[in-house]
Symmetry: C2
Subunit: 202 residues, 2 copies
């Protein structure tokens, strides 16, 4: 089905143009025309794939989330064996840190979407599904780790998940502005994980 592949490739091309614009200067001032120019295609082609700016943004967020998910799966599968909960949590947190060009761009994109979601019920609704889903997934991983004895029994998996997911965003601000190095940010994450998992570096 070459036609379908084309459609998907074209949507991705448009989404990535939007992401580059979002990470450079936010989303408020971005028009369909800007996206078309950045993607190197016509306005008509953009309008063919996306009926509104909101639809385009939703697709782009979906794209960015999938891309990050794929990097996490790839990093974990390099290990060969079933990774420990600590390794899974650490991989997700490092992926959220603005350490590489890709993750810096994604962090800024999330910020730009967040700012826009404050005024867009459609985007806010997407966040309200997406973020709690990530928290629930992490909560489940921590609960399993408790059952297997990797995580101490006294901890509250849901609260720990909220805290774990807050830390990379806070550290990324310092990374992006240059008052914190990547090494320091990773050391702080490892410090917190040492505390949670009782110092096991599995």
């Amino acid at each position: 089905m070459p036609k379908q592949v084309d459609h998907e490739a074209r949507r991705t091309q448009i989404a990535e143009a939007l992401l580059r614009l979002a990470s450079r200067g936010g989303l408020e001032a971005v028009s369909l025309r800007d996206v078309a120019a950045e993607a190197g295609i016509s306005m008509g082609a953009v309008q063919h794939y996306f009926k509104s700016k909101e639809q385009m943004l939703l697709h782009a967020m979906d794209h960015v989330t999938k891309r990050a998910g794929e990097r996490i799966v790839a990093a974990l599968s390099q290990q060969g064996e079933r990774p420990s909960a600590r390794k899974i949590v650490r991989t997700v947190m490092l992926e959220m840190l603005a350490l590489t060009d890709d993750s810096r761009m994604e962090f800024l994109t999330h910020l730009a979407f967040f700012m826009r979601a404050l005024g867009s019920p459609e985007l806010a609704a997407m966040y309200r599904e997406w973020w709690p889903e990530l928290e629930r997934w992490l909560t489940g991983e921590l609960r399993t780790a408790q059952e297997s004895g990797e995580l101490p029994p006294g901890l509250d998996p849901a609260r720990e998940a909220e805290i774990l997911l807050s830390i990379p965003d806070g550290l990324s601000v310092g990374l992006l502005l240059g008052h914190r190095t990547g090494e320091e940010a990773i050391a702080t994450i490892d410090y917190h994980l040492d505390r949670l998992f009782g110092g096991h570096r599995s």
Copy 2:
């Protein structure tokens, strides 16, 4: 010196107009003209006080930071006696949470400034002074608490300060988009403080 008081009041008036604009739609598209209109004064008056947009932004950030500092001091002094380290840390963290209209606006203002600081060496330099200073202050408070026995000796005050200051930002995103309640966010902060201070609710 009534003249000097006037100057200060006028600067504050301009800064607050800028803050309202920043919290509504970011800072990229805000012009001196917009600020003048929002403050209800002339362009010339704005230009008399601030030679550039960057200067205006620096003053506004300074204003917002002082205002939050004053609220923290006021909240702590209501207690009468010397507050515990736990109480000090908790007050700062709750102040950073986007719980009230004021702190919501300040959170969004910080975000808008942060986005702009990425492209402005002058604003980035301000952040590089200001944020590490807050971290150092909190690190000092935690070290003092260790010396007095309020905080367990095994903890690293600098790493703990980084983590403590990351949590409110992460939780505020959910507060602003509506997938987390203020009560839940406060419960998560108290959960983390219970862990740190060993469950003492002083």
